[in-house]
Amino acid sequence: MRSFSTISDLISLAKENCSNISEIVLSYETQKTQKSKKEILEIMNQRLIVMRNSIEKGKKNNNYSISKMVGMNASKFYSFISKNSFLGKIVEKAICYALSVSEVNACMGLIVACPTAGSCGILPGAILSVSEEMGLPDEKVVLSLFTAAGIGMVIGKNASLAGAVGGCQAECGSASAMAAGAVLELLGGTPEQVGHAIALALKNYLGLVCDPVAGLVEVPCVKRNAFAAIHALVAAELAFAGIESIIPPDEVILAAYEIGRLMPKSLKETSEAGLAKTPTGKRIESLMNA
């Protein structure tokens, strides 16, 4: 079995086989599950369909979450960008899609966790804005999800994907690194460039804490998904331009692990500090528990 436990394994396997990282991850899954390539691709395609449905639902969402902290912002942004443009189409779509998916999640709608439910808007926001604006076929988009999955597996193995273990760098940081790598493969970058995109994205989110108001996946999570999608696009474009990360991706991942370990428990999904304990955060929390 072509097994991998680091980003550098993924890059060398891709180079040995003259393929992309997505192909390595796809063949890993086929060998592990004994399912055909076609079956595995179809399972991933189903996930892409759910992502698109969440975007469509979120753009028109007129519901609020149970706490009422989240809702109607994706539709507000969607109608704004239908008439105005400031940042340009790809960026605006990425923001809109990430907000949509994340809002649908907060309002108990159907989403694909990638890698977590709290960070579910980042990957669809980044890859679908790029693929639509560049007119890329669905086969390529589905393959880019394998690249993202491989990156997520490596981060999960060598650091963490859980806010309770590593803070938000483990959730939105990992999702952004996954999205950066996936976008770079969509753009036609080399496996090494994918590695730099991962390192650049994750490096810039190191130390990000998880301090959600009232312990809910809402504030700051939903809007952070929009920022993290753009963050992924920036990392991808930097790497595509040939800009390299001085610290290699696997070392950045180990740094994320160490920083997560050093981060106080009060800032790892326990809502005992930070935004959760601001006067407004506390007021919302007491309303929720009333």
């Binding site: 991850v25 890993y28 899954e29 592990k32 599950t33 399972i43 991933m44 189903q46 996930r47 759910v50 979450s65 149970i66 706490s67 649908v104 999640n105 907060a106 309002c107 108990m108 709608g109 159907l110 989403i111 694909v112 966790a113 990638c114 890698p115 977590t116 439910a117 709290g118 579910c120 990957l123 999800l145 394998f146 993202a148 999955a149 491989g150 997520g152 597996m153 999960g156 193995k157 994907l161 859980a162 309770a164 996954m178 009232a214 312990g215 809910l216 996946v217 809402e218 326990t270 809502s271 929720m288 528990n289």
Partner: protein, 220 residues
């Protein structure tokens, strides 16, 4: 990590894989251990569940689990009403008692026949869960495998007799866990297997006099 679809997935109703999807899965396994939808359930919520269950929709997800819904079912937000209409009484009680794991749930289930079973479990992240206790016996099952649960006399050779039945059907055991409350009384065993456990295994084991509880919980 089992599969790449644990990273790009699961497909689920939000907002939280541990507090929504995980809560549903715990309730669904508890229902399978009970054998049917119970008529009354008291849900004790501990740790983070006690503080955040309303906002995470954990209560709706738990009701959905008792109705046998999957984590993708779009009826989850309305599950409390659906359960109420079906005559399933579910009560949610927040507890501030300290527990080992921050995401712990306990289900006290009662059926129409008077059967009552209490199941306790934890949500460990990403929608994955572990059932830790059945009626005070320590157990270990995840719902990711086919599982056989037995309560049997704590006498020499009985576990061998049970595993013999399993091996005769060419079923491979992945994990097993045995515990007892007192030496020589009853012991509870959970066996997670790689292969499907068919109902004929239930029939054979049910005929054994030294077993007083047999249940098959299929992979979820």
């Amino acid at each position: 990590m089992e599969s790449i679809f644990d990273i790009i997935g699961p497909i689920m109703i939000g907002p939280s894989s541990s507090h929504t999807a995980g809560a549903l899965k715990l309730a669904r396994i508890a229902r399978a251990i009970f054998g049917d939808t119970p008529s009354e359930v008291r849900v004790n919520l501990y740790g983070s569940f006690a503080k955040t269950y309303r906002g995470h929709g954990s209560d709706r997800a738990i009701a959905a689990g008792f109705l046998g819904f999957s984590t993708e079912d779009e009826r989850i937000p309305d599950a409390i009403n659906i359960a109420f209409k079906m005559g399933v009484k579910i009560e949610f009680v927040s507890s501030n008692i300290f527990v080992d794991h921050p995401n712990t749930l306990e289900f006290e289930m009662v059926g129409k026949s008077g059967l009552s079973i209490t199941v306790q479990g934890i949500s460990v992240g990403g929608g994955n869960v572990v059932i830790k206790k059945i009626n005070n016996y320590e157990v270990y099952l995840t719902g990711n495998y086919e599982t056989l649960i037995t309560c049997h006399k704590d006498h020499p050779g009985i576990i061998a007799k049970i595993t013999q039945v399993i091996s005769s059907k060419n079923i491979n055991i992945a994990y097993m866990y045995v515990s007892r409350l007192e030496k020589g009384k009853d012991a509870m065993m959970t066996i997670e297997t790689d292969d499907y456990i068919s109902s004929d295994i239930y029939d054979i084991l049910s005929s054994f006099s030294y077993l007083n509880f047999v249940k098959i919980v299929h992979k979820i």
